[in-house]
Every structure is written in C-alpha cells, then in structure tokens.
C-alpha cells in the first residue's frame, strides 16, 4: 500500500514537473520567438476594417516615432486585455517607414511586449486610402477607428484610457 502511494506520488510529481517545464518553455519561446509583422497595402488591410462578425474592433493608426501614439499605446493594450471577454479586439496599424520595420518596429514590439495584433500599412497612395478609411481624416497620427457590424466611428485625436473606454462602451451597450 505504502509502496503504491509512493509510486503514485512519484508519478504525479513527474507529471507536474513535466507540465511546469513545458509551460516554462512556452513562455520563453514567446519571449524569444521571432516576431514578424505582416505588411499590407490598403486593399489587403481593407478586410480588417470591415469585418462583419460579432466582435467590436478597435483599430489604432500609429507609429513608433509618433510620441502621442506611443503614449496612448498602453491604453489600447489594456483595452485589448480587459475587454477580450466582451468580444473586443484591438488591431495596431503601424505607419512606420517600411525600411525601419526590423530596426525600429519589431524591437519596439518586443520591448513593450505588445499583445495586440500589429500590422504595417505600406501603401504610398495615401490620397486614396486616407479618405477611404474616413472622409474627415486629415492624415494626422494618432487616429483610431472603432467599429462593429452596427456602428462605426473615427477619431483623429489622442485618447486617455477613460476616454477610450467610454467610447468603446457606446459600442458595447448601444
């Protein structure tokens, strides 16, 4: 009986240690894994801006060199985490220079440990896609689009966490 228990304990211990080990590798893998940023032209980005499922999407246009963008980025990350269970998803559309993706954008994503999805919008035809995204957008960064299948609003402004959350709430509880 005692022997059996010892066996069982040892067995359990092995299982647990394996699990722990596995979890550890997963974390470190994520930390050191190669981050890649998908580069899209406007036609490729467009489907991300007009999804018609049950989610509410918060799309932030930003760049690593844009100080007010970087300042508000944690708020978008916080929203992405806090509202994930309410069907909210954040997408960060970077307007960094395509040549600086490896040098600036990816190190930035790693350093800040960004969890929201990041894509690069690389399309020179700004005079077409800026008004297509929103008629009133002058092109200044930062800018944010919040939408779901019922509602759609564009903001050429910076956000505080409270202001962003309040706007988001109008989409969740119309």
């Amino acid at each position: 009986m005692i022997r059996k228990s010892i066996f069982l304990l040892a067995f359990l211990a092995i299982i647990f240690s394996c699990k722990k080990e596995k979890a550890k590798t997963e974390i470190s893998e994520k930390k050191h894994s190669k981050i890649e940023v998908t580069s899209l032209d406007y036609n490729q980005l467009k489907p991300y801006l007009e999804r018609k499922d049950d989610k509410t999407y918060v799309v932030n246009f930003w760049a690593t060199w844009c100080a007010p963008c970087v300042k508000e980025l944690p708020y978008f990350e916080k929203i992405n985490k806090a509202y994930a269970n309410q069907n909210v998803e954040v997408l960060l559309v970077s307007l960094d220079f395509p040549k600086q993706v490896d040098k600036k954008l990816i190190p930035f994503i790693k350093r800040r440990n960004l969890q929201s999805e990041v894509v690069l919008l690389d399309d020179t035809n700004e005079n077409v896609w800026i008004p297509a995204i929103n008629e009133n957008w002058s092109g200044a960064l930062p800018a944010t689009l919040i939408y779901n299948k019922n509602n759609r609003k564009f903001y050429e402004q910076s956000f505080t966490y409270e202001a962003l959350e309040n706007e988001l709430k109008t989409f969740l509880n119309p």
């Binding site: 020179t124 700004e126 005079n127």
Partner: protein, 203 residues
C-alpha cells in the same frame, strides 16, 4: 414667465449652436482669402507675406524638426524652393509645434536644423501657436498654396503622393498646382491627404 423661459431656451440653443459652429470651423478652405502674419525667421528677422512684392503667390508648408514625415520631405522642399522661388512662388515654412510639448522644435533647434540642412527658404516659428489654427493645419507636413493678389487658397494638402519614400513619387501635387497657376489655369487638384504628425500642443 413662459416667454422668459423660451427666450432663455432659445439663447441656450443659440450658444450651443455657435459653440459647435466655431468648433467645426477648422480654418481656411480652398477659395478663402488668408490673413497675413508676422513670424520670426531662423535668421532673427520677422517675416510677413506683404514683404514679398514681386511674387505671384506662396507655397506655405507647416513642417518641423522632429516629425519623420517632415524630415523625409526636407530635400523635396529645398528642391521646390530651388525651382519655384524665381518663378514667383517662394516656399514659406512654418513650424507650428509648441516646444513645451516637443522640445526638439524650439526656435534654437530650428536654427540648428536650418543650418545643418542648408534650408534655402525662410523657416518661421509660430510663436504662441496663433497662425496654424487660422489655417486649420492639423499635421506636419501640411501644405497651403496661396495666389496673389487676392491671397486666395488654391490648394491644401500633401507635397506629393508618396510621403514616406521620395523614390516612389508618381504625382508631384505642389508642382502640378503651381505649374497650372503659372500658366493661368485653375488648379486641377485642390485637396489631397497624406499621413503626418499631429501638431504638438500643451493641453
């Protein structure tokens, strides 16, 4: 009593409407006449548009030291001044940022940048941020082409159709518009968009 109440209500509505009208009125539109200004240049002189006697108009560009989109366009702005100053459309660059919000855009730093890059155009400091709101500029770079003698806004927008990469430019908006104005034509392009850095203010 009822009349007083309704008058009050009307007044409140009027005030609200007015407040909103002012708020949505974001500066000059194409066709508007601009007011002159007097701003300090990097060489220390004050510059006004009325100082320019012999010109046909102006290429006014809101730009700054710190925005990568501005930096990516500096050589293009220098080339514009090279070409169009003698044709009667000089470039006037204005830095609209508040150095309290963006220390790299101080007047001292402007002087350094102008020297470094060999700016061949006046680079003015919008001290107190009084000028850019009149134009309704929202970002750097942001271009306004103005024709004399009415000081009429002919064009608002981008320098060309590829702000991030000079090597992939297909349409040079400023050149197209100024060439048409010089030829006595109405510009075929009046408004364009480009990505830029928001103008920095202390809130």
């Amino acid at each position: 009593m009822k009349t007083i109440k309704s008058t009050l209500l009307l007044a409140v509505i009027a005030i609200i409407t007015l407040a909103f009208t002012v708020k949505t009125d974001k500066g000059y539109k194409v066709g508007d006449t601009i007011e002159d200004f007097s701003l300090k240049n990097v060489d220390g002189d004050k510059i006004s548009l009325k100082d320019y006697d012999d010109v046909k108009g102006f290429i006014i560009i809101f730009t700054c030291n710190t925005c990568p989109y501005s930096l990516a366009n500096e050589d293009r702005i220098i080339a514009l001044q090279d070409k169009y100053e003698e044709l009667g459309y000089p470039v006037i660059a204005i830095n609209p940022n508040d150095p309290k919000a963006q220390p790299g855009d101080s007047f001292e730093k402007m002087k350094v940048r102008a020297e470094e890059k060999g700016f061949n155009f006046p680079y003015l400091f919008d001290e107190g941020q009084k000028v850019y709101p009149k134009f309704g500029a929202s970002k750097t770079p942001h271009v306004y082409i103005v024709s004399k003698p009415e000081m009429k806004v002919e064009y608002i927008g981008a320098i060309d159709d590829s702000s991030r990469d000079a090597s992939t430019v297909k349409v040079k908006y400023i050149e197209t518009v100024v060439d048409e104005l010089l030829a006595g034509k109405t510009p075929s392009i009046t408004e364009t968009r480009a990505i830029g850095c928001s103008i920095k203010t202390v809130k």
